[in-house]
Amino acid sequence: MSASVEGTPVEKARAIGREIARLHADDVDRQARFPKEAIEAVRAEGLLAASVPRELGGLGATVPDVVSMCQGLAQGCSATGMVFAMHHIKLLSMAAHAAGSDATQGYVREICDKKWLVASVTSEVGVGGDLRRSVCAVETTGDTFSIVKDATTISYGAQADGLLLTARRHPDSAPADQSLVWLKPGDYTLEQKSEWDTLGMRGTCSPPFLVRGKGRADQVLREGFGDIAPLSMVPLSHLLWGGVWLGIATEAVSRARAFVRAEARKNPNGPPASGLRLSELQARLQSFRTLVYAMAEEYNGAMVNKIDKDHLLSIGYALRLNNLKLVASTSVAEIVTAAMPICGIMGYKNTSPFSLGRLLRDSFSAQLMINNDRLHMTNAQLLQVYKDDS
């Protein structure tokens, strides 16, 4: 696929997943290299701006549509889907909180216009995966600031054009009093601290880096991260990641289905025994898919026009959103695992069309991206007062 693809943004993303990402997925995985072919195709089609409202220079895709793009890309290559997802989580979150700030609106427009790829810097040495605490702080002097962050994991840090980073608002601020900071190309340097040689999601290229940045004071978003996190960053993370994991699960089931079909064609005399397992798997995939898209529709409804803070900041919503992540991240690994006995040795081999090894390894990252036990701890706290009475 070299010429530009026809169709809606969703159709374009799905075509890139099918025709480009898939082609390079095994090489990306083997070499733990960035999926540059697929991401460049995404960039060339203007899809790096897909999620941003039209008035800010984007394509104005709905959240369910962006989830669908993540799914389609991940069906071809999990790492491609995850890079696309993380970029849109950051960019759409920034756009969602741009109202009332000419500066932020201008930066979002510039990102869309220049087709920049944005990476995420939340995890930090000393706080691990706790999104709502930072060690590093924004140091402001006049109308400029500087920042140094010891980041444990920055996916495609070396390939990104800019970074969206969490930090304490001020050197005297408490760990949870955080701001979101936009670092443009040229604003920062990265010192890679070690390798990214992992079980799966190898193509996300996510090693630890020391980030040194500086910029204009208006690159610090005005809205505090305490509001940005529950209103946009966390919902978008769970939804778009959910789309990626759904893509991985869908690919595993589709390999299992192809295997069973091949068996059935050899002996068209009623379904083979593996057909029962397939039936089970298809039911689980359907409920997984329904969950992800229903939650995406609900969030989209609470986002359009004006952010419905009352709904998004309720305990009931926080619980259900955490449950989406918990169910999606465990479902993906369970579904790929359950596809293995269906495909048998052909699933176990790395070089068969029914191979499940890469998908299985990729699927294990889901429960670590914000450790599920952290979410269970949060839910345990919320369940002390939640009644499930509505």
Binding site: R132, A174, A176, D177, G226, P230, K309, D310, L313, S314, I315, G316, A318, T378, Q381, L382, Q384, V385, Y386, K387, D388, D389, S390
Partner: protein, 80 residues
Amino acid sequence: MQNQIRTILQQHGKLGTDATSLAEDADLYQAGMTSHASVNVMLALEGAFDVEFPDRMLKRSVFESIRNIHAALSELTGGR
């Protein structure tokens, strides 16, 4: 009721300021109450006033200020 609310906020709200002298409409989240701390405040209020906050009340706006908490509790106790 106000004083009891203030005492509970003082004990469980993890506020950066003194809850006993805070303005009635001051934003408690701005004053440093985390969502984790707010759940502990809800639990303590349910215990102290022998009420149960229904889910429709379990949102940030209801626990955002002493005045709002007071209003929610008054609704649940029916002024008892």
